[in-house]
Each structure stands twice: as C-alpha cells, then as structure tokens.
C-alpha cells in the first residue's frame, strides 16, 4: 500500500511539474508583451520576434538560414539588439513543425520564415488564422505546395523564394564536358517532393540532348550503396539533384563512381567542392539573402502577398579541377573562362 501511494504521488508530481512549467511558460510570454522593459532580459523579450522554422538540420537548409540572418543584419535588424530571432528545427517530424508554428503564433511573431516545404505548409495553416506574414525559402514548387497562386504571387500573407534547379543548363554542361555520355544515372529519395519534380523535368528534357535518364529511388541512407552499385554499370555518369538524402551520402557516391572512373555531376557548388566534377546550380547563401530582404520589406510595412515570389535559377558553373584531371576530362576554354574553378 505504501509503495502504491508513493507511485501515485510520484505520478501526480510529474503532472504538477509539467503543468507548472506550462503555466510559467505562458505567463512569461504574456508578461513579456505587457510589462515595460525593466531589465535587460525583459528588454530582449520585448523585441519583435522573427521566427525561423526549418524541417530538419541539413547543410543546404542551414546555409539558407545563414543567408536570411545575414540579410537581416545587413539591413540593421540584429538579433538581441532590435529584433529577436528564434530558430527551431522540427527534427524531421511534421508534428513538431506544427507545434513550432503554433508556438511562434502564440508568441506573436511579427513574421515567420519557413525553410523547406513541410515546414512552410505547417506554418501556413497557423499564420493564415493569425494573420502573421509568412516568408518561405527553398520550396521548389510553391504552387503545388499551396503557398502560391502562381509562380510570382503568393497566397494571402505569403511570399518567398523558390529554388529551381537549372536542369537544362546542367544537361548542356554534361554534353560539353563529357561528350561521350549517353546514359545519365539519377539517384533520388522517393520521399522528397523536390527530387520528384526535378527528376520529372530531367526526364522530359533529356531527349533534346540525346540522353537517356536511368533513375534509382531509395528510401534511406542504408540503401544508397546498393543503389549506386546497381546504377553504375548501366550509366556513363551520375547527376545528383538537390536531394537531401543523396547529397548527405555524397562521399559514398563519389568513392564508388571514382572507382568505376565515371564522373559525378552536382546541383550546387558545395557538392563540387566536395569532389563532384561540375555543377550549374543554386547558391543557397544567395537564396537565403534574397529571402532575408523580403523579410526586411515586410518589417518595413509591406504586405507579404504584394512582394513577388522570386525563383532563383542559379547559372553559376563550378568545376573541380582535381576531379577533372583524375577523370581525364578536358575543359573547353569558353567554359573555363566563365566558370568558378575549385580544387
């Protein structure tokens, strides 16, 4: 009986603790909006809140966020000085993305920045009700995602930036650098909406260049090795999209492709710095900065939906010289002149 009682007490205390934290959490936000600044900490809490919600921690998405913050700072909005910038990642779980959005709305954020599709969609459901402007970043197909009416106009309260991979330019680069290539292998995660639309576009464009696209879908990182092994004998090169899963597994893809002496093309400059042969692609830092400037416009009083959605179609060619030498690829002079060369 004693033990029973103790368990009961322990249970109740767990409940009480959670309730207390919840209540204190709420009152502190309530207090922060009503009481005038008395101490430095309250002062910071009184600053207008800019909420950044991101679906997962991932290099490209993190770079976007850095760009956003850099643009805000350049315009004079500094975290802890005249604004409060709060960053939350959903750790890959959509249910967390919803809670994050609700948290920002409850804290009366002046603007919410959402990086990647599911976070933007989760935020939209909440900002729509609360009338808080939403700026999305790195959403490849904002129309299909329900964030935009068309490619330049967001739905009410929404604007943002889209990253469109210049697939046509990339295919052109492949014909110039490695003219013998006929079959291009593309690895993609079947769960990523971005990869889905990029792959469809690559397949549609390939016949113009006389290419055949061979694609292999994977669902987690453990399947990448097998997928590369089965793909390599059937293709002349590999082309990586902005697929999060495949980009994370890039070292593996590269080592296998190098062993088979086949080039790997990328979709952003960091993939080339890490050893891919070349890319025509997106500069995520730049994309983040463009997004950040939109936030600045909103902070200055502009309506989100009146700011045009910008689709960044990167045209920067990046070539890795070391990889080119290894694969005995000669770089035509005209391309070399305009490209960024890395080693």
């Amino acid at each position: 009986m004693k033990k029973l009682l103790r368990n009961y007490k322990a249970g109740i205390s767990l409940l009480l603790v959670s309730a207390m934290v919840l209540i204190s959490g709420c009152t502190s936000t309530a207090a922060s909006t009503s009481t005038p600044a008395a101490t430095a900490t309250i002062n910071t809490a009184n600053l207008p809140l800019i909420g950044i919600t991101q679906i997962a921690d991932h290099p490209a998405l993190d770079t976007c966020r850095e760009g956003v913050i850099a643009a805000l700072e350049a315009a004079g909005y500094k975290d802890g000085v005249n604004v409060r910038i709060e960053y939350k990642s959903a750790q890959g779980e959509v249910n967390n993305a919803i809670t994050i959005a609700q948290d920002f709305v409850a804290k009366k954020a002046v603007v919410i920045i959402a990086i990647a599709t599911p976070s933007a969609q989760a935020a939209l459901t909440e900002t729509k009700k609360a009338g808080i402007p939403l700026v999305f970043c790195a959403v490849s197909d904002p129309v299909a995602a329900g964030l935009a009416k068309d490619l330049t106009t967001g739905v009410t309260g929404v604007t943002g930036t889209s990253d469109k991979l210049p697939i046509k330019d990339q295919l052109q680069l492949i014909t110039k650098l490695t003219p013998s290539v006929k079959k291009i292998g593309i690895l993609h995660n079947t769960a990523e909406a971005n990869s889905d639309s990029q792959l469809a576009e690559a397949k549609a464009l390939a016949p113009q260049f006389g290419f055949e696209i061979v694609d292999k879908g994977v669902t987690n990182s453990s399947e990448v090795a097998t997928a590369v092994d089965s793909l390599l004998p059937n293709v002349d090169c590999i082309y990586n999209l902005t697929d999060n899963l495949i980009v994370t597994s890039l070292p593996l893809v590269l080592s296998k492709a190098n062993a088979a002496n086949k080039p790997v093309y990328g979709s952003e400059d960091s993939q080339v710095t890490n050893g891919s042969l070349a890319s025509v692609g997106i500069n995520y830092l730049e994309l983040g900065k463009v997004t950040g400037n939109m936030v600045v416009q909103i902070l200055k009083g502009e309506k989100a939906e009146s700011i045009k959605i910008i689709t960044q179609e990167g045209k920067t060619v990046t070539i890795n010289e070391t990889t080119a030498t290894k694969l005995k690829v000669t770089i035509p002079a005209d391309i070399k002149a305009s490209a960024t060369m890395v080693k």
Binding site: A10, I12, L14, E86, Q91, N95, A106, Q121, A122
Partner: protein, 300 residues
Amino acid sequence: MDVLISGIITQGFIYGIMSMGVIVTYLVLDFPDMTVDGSFPLGAAVAASLLLSGVNPWLCCIAAFFAGTLAGTVTGILHVKLHIKNLLSGIITMTALYSINLHLTGKPNLFLGNAVTIFTFENGLFAGIPSSIATLIVAFLIAMVIKFALDWFMKTKKGFLVRTVGDNPQLVASLGQNIGAVKIIALAIANGFAALAGAVICQYQQFFDISMGLGTIVMGLVAVIIGKTVFGRIRLIQLSTIAILGTIIYRATIAIALNIGFESIDLKLITAVVFVIALVLSSSEIKESIVRLFKVKNNA
C-alpha cells in the same frame, strides 16, 4: 484561448486516437506494434487522395479507418499465421506501407488546398466560433466517439478475450477460443485508430507528407506510459482516458521544450528523458513489459 494551448490539446485529442490503439496492442496485448508508423500516414494518404477527388471528408475518415484495419490485419496474419515475431511483423508491414502510401498519393507531398475538410467551418454548426476552438471541439468529439466505442468494445465478449490474451493466453486457449484470431482483431482495431488519427491530422494540417508517420509509435508508447504512470492509479479509470490524457501531456512536454527555448536539436533527447522518467515512476508491471520489449528486440 492561446493558440499554443488549444493546439496542444487539439493535437493531443487527435494523436490520442492513435494512442488508444497503442494502449490496446501494447498494454493489453503486450504487442509493440510498429505498423503504426505506416498505418498513420496510410490513413492520411487515403483521406488526402479521396478528399482531393471530392469525397465527403467524414467518409474519407471512415475509409481511412478501414484501410488501417486492413494494415493491422496484415501484421496480425504475419505474426499469427506465419509465426513472425511481433516486432518484426509490424516492421515488415510498416515498410511495405511506405510504398503503398506513395502509390496512393502519387507523390510525397499533397496539399489539400481548398478542399472541404472536417475542419471547414465557414457555414455550418460552428459558424461564428473562433476556428481554433471549433477545431478543438471537433477533435474532442471524434476522440470521444472512439473512446466510448473502445470502452464498449472492451466490455464485450471479444474485448474480454483481448484482455485475457494479454494476461493469460492459456486461459483463452482453455476456453476453446482462438488466440490468433483475437490478436488479429486487436491489431486491426488499433491500426484502424492510427489511420483515423492520420486522416484527421492531415485535414488539420491541410497537407499530406510521406514522412509524417515518423516517430508516431514512439509518441504513442511514451503517451501511453505517461498516462499509465500519472493516471493509472485512479480507480475505475478507463484505458482510453489514460491514452488521451497521456498524449496531451506528451504534446505539452514537446511544446514546453520548444516554448522555453530548448535547442530543437535536443527534442529527441527530451523525448527520451521524459520516456525514462515516466518508466521509472511507473509501476513494476510496466517495467516488466518494457524489459520484455527489449528482450524481443534483442532476439529479433
């Protein structure tokens, strides 16, 4: 009401439907059912694709429920008829469901747009009430319907058998009843609940994403154990009530962690810590069943 608090409670009720399934399989039947990570998005996929083709949102929920029962039945057959270990049979179905869900929707992310959902209140019973409150009421009502249906079921002869299979399978066998059939029924119901929760959540968040099942069973298990720890000693409390209240506390914990400024990279760590605290505080019977769970894992 504060958006965050009404959000926590709403999500608590919706995910609570899933937890009610987990409490049947895990606490009653002693079956850690991984199928849920697949049947939850299955329900969302069924509902999303039907909604977009103009089907009545309530019918979508019912269809999702039945799709879920089908998934649970498959796990049950794998376990009972093909003698595959409980944890593995759930993992197998969950894995297969990933492809099936993608086939159902055609792509990894679907936006429900302006499709009429169960949370569309423009003109109807709830016109004039703030939408967050109306949403909360609808979520509460669905959870209550499921709660009372489950309470009723557990009192029927079949429900009694489900309980007995968990406690004393020999007794069921000695009564001349088929243990396997009872397990399959329980799994079907539990996954029906998970799929229904998925269908409701996807209408609540207005989109389907293939990754939305991630972490569902963990949430269900933590919620059920928290619920059992905190409310389990209250006399005559229904298992269904424990599941719903546990889920609300779990969602509140996550929201608090986010609200008071924990680094979001610590979220999973916080989940793990809450899990451990609940387990340590909980009664010895749960301790035993968790030990059993890990034994199964190690053998598998």
